[in-house]
């Protein structure tokens, strides 16, 4: 696995997490589940990436954590988006869309007959 690929995945994962949390504050398990659901099982998020990412985002002040009772009645750590986090997410979404656009344009370019 090349370094570049990991970086891309990590950055993308951060953005996805922010997006999911933006929908509604949730705990780690729910975030993983929802990512899987929304992406129709395309993303299988491993805990070894999810939790470091969550803690990293919290450290940066993009997420805010709070211990609350979950739907099962047990206490769980809920993550919510901060204002800083929302700004970051918006920026990343714009970047992502630009990237997709650019990649799409390159891929759609007609091949020359040789």
């Amino acid at each position: 696995m090349g370094e570049a690929k990991i970086e891309l995945l990590r950055g993308t994962l951060d953005m996805l997490i922010l997006k999911v949390v933006a929908l509604c504050p949730s705990h780690g398990y729910a975030i993983a589940q929802r990512l899987q659901q929304i992406s129709k099982d395309f993303f299988q998020v491993h805990q070894g990436s999810l939790y470091p990412a969550l803690h990293r985002l919290e450290d940066r002040g993009w997420l805010q954590a709070e211990w609350k009772n979950s739907e099962t009645g047990r206490e769980a750590k809920f993550y919510a988006l901060t204002k800083k986090g929302r700004r970051q997410m918006d920026a990343e979404v714009v970047n992502w869309e630009r990237l997709c656009d650019a990649v799409g344009q390159v891929l759609r370019a007609p091949e020359e007959e040789s």
Partner: protein, 882 residues
Amino acid sequence: MRWIRRLFQKSRSEKQLDQELRFHLDQQIADYVAAGIPLDEARRRARLDFGGLERVKEEVRDTRWETRLDSLFRDFRYAFRSLRKDRRFVLTAILALALGIGATTAMFSLVYNLLIDPLPYKGGNRLTVVKIHDMKESGNRDRESFSIPEFIDCRTQNHVFEDVVGSYNLNVLYDDGKGLRKTGGAFVTTNTFEFFGVPPLLGRGLTQEDGNPGAPPVFVMNYRLWQGEFSGDSTVVGKTLLVNGKPRTLVGVMPPRFQAYGARIWLPLGLYPGAEGTAAPGNLPVYLWTLGRLKPGTSLRAAAADLVVIARRLSKFYPKEYPEQFTVTTQSEVEAVMGDFRTMLYALLAAVFMLLLIACSNIASLLLARATVRQREIAIRASLGASRGRLIRQLLVESFVLSAGGCALGCWFAYFGLKELMAIIPQGPLPDEADVGLNAAVLLFALGITVLTTILNGLTPALHTVRGDLYPRLTASGKSVSGDFRHGRLRAGLVIVEVALSIVLLAGAGLLMRTCFALAHVDLGYKSKNALLVRLIFPEGHADTADQKRVFLRQVLDRVTSLPGVTSAAETVLVPPYEGWQSGLTVAGKPGFEKLTSFFDMCSEGYFQTLGIPLVRGRLLSKNDVDSARRVAVVSQTFAHVYFFQDDPIGQKFKFNVFDQVPELPHDTYFEIIGVVGDVLNQGLQTSPIPQVYIPYTTTGFGNRAILVRTAVPPDSLVAAVREQIRAVDRDVALQEAKSLESYLYERSYQTPEFGLTTLGTFAGIGLLLAIIGVFSVMAYNVSLQTHEIGVRMALGAQQSKILTMILTKGMRLVAWGVVIGFVASYGLTRFLASQIWGVSATDPWTFGTVAAIILTVGLAACLLPARRATQVDPLIALRYE
């Protein structure tokens, strides 16, 4: 404050992490169970999905900054532990660094507090002196003061200064009720105190209103006068004292570092016509010494360009005040005060950085040796999962611990070093305001140096150690051959650098030593040993006329001559070799000397005997000549040669052109030459003399006078007795200066080069010591690496002398390379010292030869010990050594 809590409640955050992850696991299990999987299977699958609770935890921990901080702490702890095992290394390293950092910090403190920020005034670095420079004159005889109308025009018409202040110094006699006292004062324009922007210690400074017509007369006092004469009594503010015969109210006292114009009393100078102080005695115009503060961002050159326009305009109004062709030059006040001494300080700062580099090379080379020995340990750590970054950090932390230790000890050294430096620094060029010490800026600098040394020392060895494949070293015996080769080359390079740099330092010190030697052996043309110099200041109303001066001085000279221990005494106006009044001459019947100038002095008949100046032809001044103020002159040999070449000068007549322009001097008066005496240096020690004339001091009553006393005992012991004799004649005549002629010469000419020599010599000595330690340690290390090889050679029958030669050659090759590179560097660098060197070429072969000889000898000694150890290798033990 959350982060502090987190740091100290590590267990709690650990527990929360555990809870969070377990919740995830349990939730997964619950979901599987809900999907109809049996509990045991659900548990197994959830665990499998999760992939190791502890691993996830570890990865989470790595993202948190506390962990990073924690591992940094661990690095420090580890560094301390591993350094403690190697005390000798640590002591050498810290001592070397402390010497380097200490010397650098002390030197920086001098440069910072004397050159970068010496003046405690608002915009002190932007204070600028304005000069009118005569383009036909090559010398440094620029006009720095301006008449009041010129000053006003300059102040109002310029576009480059925030403000301009003017002042002139004068002697002030004040009466504090206990008697008349004399001190130095200055008339200052009333914007002065606002201009300097220093709040007064007591009361207020002078304000614009103090210069208005009809304003009550006031003055402000400096701290030293207030402490010394008024014992710091704060009630003195508001009191009225007689100052120069006029009652004035003291309105303020300034803090200790406020020393504007070196005055002790400041008087307001109103600029309206007829204001007090706007005219000198005899209704002559006063000239204001002018100082401007540049607007931020304005260059000195731009200021000169702006001012020259004003000066051109002024020169039309006052054509007499301006030379035919002139330009305006601007100079920063700091530069004007410090003069040439700046070059010396900058040269010393450069030297001390070289010393620091030597120290760093030394530590780097020691660290490299350590790193080689520790290769196994580093390989083990790498194989246990430490990343390269981590290893480099560990090594840098170690180097930082050493640097920090060096910095702490270095600051301590700097504190004492600075005291020593201040004791020998020449006081002449120092601004009164300067406050040299280890202040915040200097300590910040020391800290910066520490970080710099950490990187310089640590990075090269660290990068070298972790370079390449680390794993094979595990299998090797701890001394991998390729690694040693690489490190060996680097260490050799470092030693060469050390030797080369110490050559540069030694060469600089050597050249200054030669300079001091040359200066000490300059023939002044007179005898400075056992002579006392006393300068007198006559207050107004005391010995004003030539006749009164003659009566006074005749009494004083008679009394002083009769003192025990005094051989002779004489009057003079000026003291060679630094002082001289200049004038063009008109020689009767010999035109064509308009361009030449001569120095003249006015002295009593005992002058030549007192200074030991030999008579060459004719006769000296007689008592009769002096008493009756006869128009006779004694001239120097150079004078005779320049004006009369091979003709006989005796009986020739000439007049001083300057005399015609000064009201107090006899106009259109011709002096007859009666004798020729030996040349005396009159343009300083380093320049050959120009024509010199001596005429009787009774020619005029103008100017203050000095007394020269030839003694048979140490001259300083007579100061009190001479003072007493002068007081006995007139108790109001003040002694401005009373010291031996030798110490007068020392302060002016010898102190600066001696200061440079002592300082640079110390740096060079330390540098040499460090370089030698470097040579020694690299050789000792090489020998220990080669033990095996030497054993084999000896087993095969190599002679001890062969081995000795082999090791010595190796060591001396390093030293020789250092010498060669050092010579090349010195050749380029000593020219920066050129303005401080005299009487010896900047590339003097003798100095360089001696330096090379010193380095080679000491280098040989440093190689000898390891080489001897090599010859004592027992082949049997050596072969089993591995």
